[in-house]
């Protein structure tokens, strides 16, 4: 089981979705959570504060989730950060593009608490094995 104290950044332009993800994470035992409303703000936070996990939407103003992911993967200090995408984008080319950009997981909205839990565990397992 992963450390429940890890700091998680939730990135989504809709406050409702951030709240829902935050509540679900709380339910799963993760309480150390911060939020960002787009990729640009997220990147700023990631560069100035320490986070162990990122959960991001795709379609956002200023900087979208894919660009955020690509920027994180190309940064020497952030590239190992796990990034889970939770998005309404359901085209196959989206999923492939996210995977190729190095997404740690991909969840399509609408999603369930069970799905989030499963994906998180899968990512933590992979991290532990690596």
């Amino acid at each position: 089981m992963p450390d429940s104290k890890i700091r998680i950044l939730v990135v989504d332009d809709f406050s409702t979705m951030r709240r829902i993800v935050r509540n679900l994470l709380k339910e799963l035992g993760f309480t150390n959570i911060d939020e960002a409303e787009d990729g640009a703000i997220a990147l700023q936070k990631l560069n100035t504060e320490a986070f162990e996990f990122v959960i991001t939407d795709w379609n956002m103003p200023n900087m979208d989730g894919l660009t955020l992911l690509q920027t994180v993967r190309s940064s020497p200090t952030l590239k190992h950060l796990p990034v889970l995408m939770i998005t309404a984008e359901a085209k196959k080319e989206n999923i492939i593009a996210a995977a190729q950009a190095g997404a740690s997981g991909y969840i399509v909205k609408p999603f369930t608490a069970a799905t989030l839990s499963e994906k998180l565990n899968k990512i933590f397992e992979k991290m532990a094995a690596a």
Binding site: A90, K91, K92, I95, A99, I107, K109
Partner: protein
């Protein structure tokens, strides 16, 4: 989601406009504008515009310098080809104009264009109501959840102590205290918290009242969008022959509203996982 519509429409216009240019083998920025410009809905404006285009296209009429023509190599250039171009533009404008009139699209377009600002307000209203509802529900769960957690915890702890009673592991004094605490739990904590949670459930139910209001507004906007789309699309298809409409590819399309018959989208998480598995991710 609504944001996607206007760039899409714009892209469609661009692609259609491009094929019009290609068909006329000369940049003719005036041709598509009756459709694209908001004034197009106005019957009189369209008539006036049409008249000017036809007048300009007429041979012998001096072309205004504000109408640039590519391919014109200088003063007194190749007049027959220029004439040809202007004739074609004139014909297209007439065709568009006639089509719009005949099919009644000029009225539809006029009505829909004038209804657009109203539609924006309506959509803002929908966004507002749904956001409020979401907040009300989340606030209610924020209040109710700790209550339920406290009740669950107290019930568990009392239950465990009652188990001890039944296992004969409790002194009389302890039993007395347990009985009192259980009574207090049943009379005070439980019913009190249950009524608070009940009130929050009611709040969650009442927060759904937006559905009725937004539903009505959305239906009106859908009808408006359909009118606008039908009018514009039919007019464009009438006027632009054999045009190749290429879909603008993009990675930010938002939720898939109708996945039926589409093989390029996934419909559930299982399909996402299968796709990623099949690619070895």
């Amino acid at each position: 989601m609504a944001d996607n519509d206007s760039p899409d429409l714009e892209a469609l216009f661009d692609s259609v406009a491009a094929s019009v240019h290609a068909a006329a083998s000369s940049p003719a920025p005036v041709a598509p504008s009756p459709v694209a410009s908001p004034e197009a809905g106005d019957g009189n404006g369209l008539q006036a515009f049409f008249d000017t285009v036809v007048a300009e296209a007429r041979p012998g009429v001096k072309i205004a310098p504000s109408a640039p023509v590519a391919g014109d190599t200088g003063e007194g250039g190749d007049w027959p080809s220029q004439e040809n171009v202007f004739n074609r533009i004139g014909q297209m404008a007439r065709q568009l104009h006639t089509t719009l009139r005949e099919l009644g699209y000029d009225n539809i377009l006029e009505n829909t264009v004038s209804a657009l600002p109203d539609a924006k307000d309506r959509l803002a209203y929908v966004a507002n109501l749904t956001e409020q509802a979401a907040c009300r529900v989340l606030n209610a769960t924020d209040v109710a959840q700790p209550m339920m957690e406290a009740l669950e915890e107290a019930a568990k702890s009392l239950g465990a102590r009652w188990d001890k009673v039944f296992a004969n592991q409790m002194t009389t004094a302890e039993f007395k205290r347990l009985a009192e605490e259980t009574r207090a739990y049943l009379n005070g904590g439980l019913s009190e918290k249950a009524s608070v949670v009940n009130a929050q459930l009611m709040e969650i139910m009442m927060a759904q009242d937006f559905q009725d209001l937004t539903g009505q507004v959305i239906k009106k906007i859908v009808a408006l969008a359909q009118d606008l789309e039908n009018g514009l699309m039919s007019a464009l298809l009438e006027v632009v022959p054999q045009s190749k409409r290429s879909e603008v590819p993009g990675l930010m399309n938002g939720p898939v509203v109708n996945a039926e018959g589409r093989s390029d989208v996934v419909v559930n998480q299982q399909q996402v996982d299968d796709l990623l598995d099949s690619l070895g991710f």
